[in-house]
């Protein structure tokens, strides 16, 4: 099979898998939490059904809102989709894979965050502004940690290109158990909890507006736009989960050019991200939400771990 066709195939599969799979992961995490509380919980596919339901509803915009509110859902979803398309999720040769630098991915994620924050500010409600301010504060602390943690891995791999990091880690299995990976993994787990708005940073299930971070920004959305925002946010979660899974356990990711390897890669990705989702859900069950003013301590901890990972990377070289 020719390389271009395979690249396109990889990217399309990644988008489909992450688009549907990340919603199922959300459903799975909700299910684990429900079971821990002794409830049956809604089916794992409930987020998919919610999206379908929202798509049939009417578009509504807050009075006094501008074009920003209407555009933000598209920016959120499009930026997440591009990042998913070019990242090494099931194969190391997706479309534009050579551009999938860590800086590109972080800034694509940041584009989505800024769009959410602007959407929160646009209708000029108190909750939206409050959520935007909190989300930007958390983002400003979490994103450097994400960047530095991946830079630590790139120091070891000798490239900041994500597919490159994944394939060189796959060929040096000993790295995974080295200090660089362990510190970076710690940092990335904290970043993932913060960036995807899970407990102890944010509670996606709360109805208490005054405690919300992410939900407060998107309170004004309804119908198809809410569906788009939900999908975009779910894809960010899927992307982050997949990146953590592949950067630290690169096995199963298709490095060659056969369709069979892609099929195996899909199965491996499902297994890895499901495990990660279960781990995150268990953290959420065991933990409570931190006081907002304690979050900088947690995120600074993540940053310190990522710096340590860089230092270890330089020392080991």
């Amino acid at each position: 099979m020719n390389r271009v066709a395979l690249s396109v195939c990889t990217s399309v599969l990644q988008l489909a898998l992450v688009g549907v799979g990340s919603l199922v992961l959300l459903g799975l995490m909700a299910k684990v939490k429900a079971r821990a509380e002794g409830r049956v919980g809604s089916p794992v596919v409930q987020p998919l059904r919610d999206i379908r339901k929202l798509l049939t509803k009417e578009r509504l915009h807050a009075r006094h809102s501008s074009v920003v509110l209407a555009l933000a859902p598209m920016v959120i979803t499009a930026s997440a989709a591009v990042a998913v398309g070019i990242s090494p999720i099931i194969g190391t040769h997706p479309v534009l894979g050579q551009s999938a630098d860590i800086f590109v991915i972080v800034y694509l994620l940041l584009t989505g965050s800024v769009a959410s924050a602007l959407a929160g500010l646009d209708p000029a409600t108190a909750f939206g502004g409050m959520g935007a301010s909190r989300a930007m504060t958390i983002g400003a602390l979490a994103e450097p940690a994400l960047l530095v943690a991946v830079i630590a891995l790139s120091v070891q791999a000798g490239t900041s290109n994500l597919p490159g990091i994944v394939s060189s880690t796959a060929s040096h299995p000993a790295w995974v158990f080295g200090p660089v990976h362990l510190f970076a993994l710690g940092a990335l787990l904290i970043v993932v909890l913060a960036e995807t708005g899970r407990i102890p940073v944010d509670n996606p299930a709360t109805h208490l507006e005054l405690t919300m971070v992410h939900e407060a920004m998107v309170l004004e959305y309804a119908g198809p736009e809410l569906a788009l925002v939900t999908l975009g946010e779910a894809m960010r979660l899927g992307l982050l989960f997949s990146l953590v899974a592949n950067l630290f356990l690169p096995w199963g990711v298709a490095t060659g050019d056969s369709l069979g390897a892609l099929a195996i890669a899909c199965a491996a990705l499902v297994a890895k991200t499901t495990t990660l989702a279960l781990v995150v859900a268990l953290i959420e069950v065991r933990s409570a939400k931190l006081r907002l003013f304690r979050l900088p301590e947690l995120l600074a901890g993540g940053f310190v771990l990522s710096v340590l990972a860089v230092v270890m990377g330089l020392v080991i070289r």
Binding site: P200, N203, L208, L210, R286, A288, K289, R291
Partner: protein, 491 residues
């Protein structure tokens, strides 16, 4: 037996000094009730204290054409709020009141509509009239306002909270209530006194027993009868069962507000067990079927085993909550209400005791024999209110166990103690705090006026005080730690 209040007719210029002397004795202004009937327009001030059980009433007759009372706002914060309500409901002017903003009155009330005056008629159609409530505006660089409610997400009663905030720190919070003002007190008027119990049970659903018991005690006081020993024991059992299910509900809800849903789920299981226990004991999950004027009847008593199971499951929830360091971190130091503030505001019940004020109607106005020492905490923060509920739960279980052992019959009646009088007072320590009812009966034994008071009326202002320097995302947790009734406050 609880004493009948001593009533003294006073003239306007005496009132201030008499009130001052009552407060100097450590008594509190428990209730202010205005009446307009064939005897004219008058206001009754009830001061209570104890132990020993003290009840003193001052009755002041007003001029119908120019109704005015001297203000007691300089003596008691609670009095200033009672007077604002008198102004809104009766057009009685508290002369010299420093801050006469509307309390009960909302924007849609017509200017000259005073709902408690006879002939006020039904509620006029809702239209926006008059000026919006004059919230105090906080000025300064970076100060902004967050309006929340009255409609909230989730199953929460309506109330509007106006926050003035810098960054995340709350500078000032004003709570605007009376959105569920149903005119409960007027619903009692004209009813046969025995029938009023059904309304008292519904003043605040979670305090059905406390309110109906306070009402029954008030009617019995007016009729000159007293529940017999058996009846009083049975009543105390149902009252403590109500405290049990509410306290465990709060323990769970506090965990839920810091997103520790597992502890909440377990607490709800315990609460459900107690509700079912309640259903077995009284025939109603919220304990409605047990307490009536002049009699009390239960179906069964809770068995020792049932109580042990509840105790064990409750301790598991508490261990789960306090074993989580994040939960403890969220509770400690959040929304602190100092002892001085708690006293100055006149807080009652759990809130007062968590701030170190040993205020408990079970001690001051006991209706059942047997010593009881209230537990108090020192902290005044969310943790103190959490621990206060935990300790009161344990104490209530002990009371239920002890009284169940002493019960000889599942029904009790009443005895005649003195001549009937026109008015009676009932005081009960509900799970939130002291519930006080004052009832006046007419010659046919019908309710001429019922004044019902939930402790939430006294405690709401304390929430605003405790919130200064708290951060916005801690408000739901702080509010839950007070868990005040909107319906009970708004009536």
């Amino acid at each position: 037996m609880n004493p009948h209040p001593q009533t003294r007719h006073v003239v306007a210029h005496e009132l201030h000094d008499l009130a001052a002397s009552q407060l100097a004795l450590g008594h509190r202004l428990a209730l202010v009730s205005a009446h307009e009937d064939h005897r004219g327009l008058r206001v009754v001030y009830l001061f209570t204290g104890g132990p020993p059980d003290e009840r003193h009433e001052f009755e002041l007759h007003l001029d119908r054409a120019h109704p005015a009372v001297p203000t007691l706002a300089d003596l008691s914060f609670a009095a200033s709020r009672f007077e604002r309500a008198l102004h809104d409901d009766y057009a009685i002017v508290p002369v010299g009141h420093p801050f006469l903003r509307p309390l009960v009155r909302h924007q849609h009330w017509p200017e000259d509509w005073y709902p408690m005056r006879p002939g006020a008629g039904p509620m006029p159609p809702r239209r926006v009239l008059g000026d919006p409530y004059p919230f105090t505006e906080v000025k300064g660089t970076g100060v902004y306002e967050i309006p929340v409610g009255p409609v909230h997400a989730g199953l929460i009663e309506p109330g509007h909270f106006r926050f003035s905030v810098v960054g995340e720190t709350i500078l000032k919070m004003t709570a605007r209530l009376w959105f569920v003002h149903r005119g409960v007190e007027r619903l009692f008027v004209g009813l046969d006194a025995d029938e009023g119990v059904a309304i008292a049970q519904r003043i605040s659903g979670d305090s059905a027993v406390a309110h109906s018991l306070a009402y029954c005690l008030a009617v019995e006081d007016a009729r000159g009868i007293e529940a017999d020993e058996e009846s009083r024991r049975l009543r105390a059992i149902v009252l403590e069962l109500e405290r049990l299910y509410n306290h465990v509900g709060d323990v769970g809800a506090l965990c839920n507000d810091v997103s520790y849903a597992v502890a909440n789920a377990r607490a709800m299981v315990v609460r459900e067990r107690i509700l079912r226990l309640n259903e077995g004991v009284t025939g109603h999950r919220l304990g409605r079927g047990a307490v009536f004027v002049g009699r009390t009847s239960l179906r069964v008593l809770p068995t020792g085993r049932e109580l042990d199971e509840v105790a064990e499951a409750f301790e598991d929830v508490v261990d789960l909550a306090l074993g989580n360091s994040v939960v403890v971190d969220r509770f400690v130091g959040t929304a602190t209400l100092s002892r001085n503030d708690a006293l100055a505001i006149g807080t009652l019940g759990v809130v007062a005791r968590a701030s170190g004020v040993a205020q408990d109607a079970r001690v001051a106005h006991p209706f059942v024999a047997g010593g009881f020492t209230p537990v108090v905490q020192e902290g005044g923060d969310v943790m103190a209110r959490f621990v206060q509920r935990v300790e009161e739960f344990r104490a209530s279980l002990d009371i239920v166990r002890r009284l169940s052992g002493e019960v000889r019959s599942l029904s009790g009646g009443s005895l005649r103690r003195r001549d009937p009088s026109a008015a009676g007072v009932g005081i009960v320590e509900g799970w939130r705090g002291a519930v006080v009812h004052r009832v006046e009966l007419d010659a046919q034994g019908r309710v001429a006026r019922a004044r019902t008071l939930d402790p939430s009326f006294f405690n709401w202002p304390a929430l605003s005080i405790a919130l200064s320097d708290t951060i916005v995302p801690d408000f739901p947790l702080s509010n839950k730690s007070f868990n005040l009734s909107y319906a009970g406050n708004d009536l």
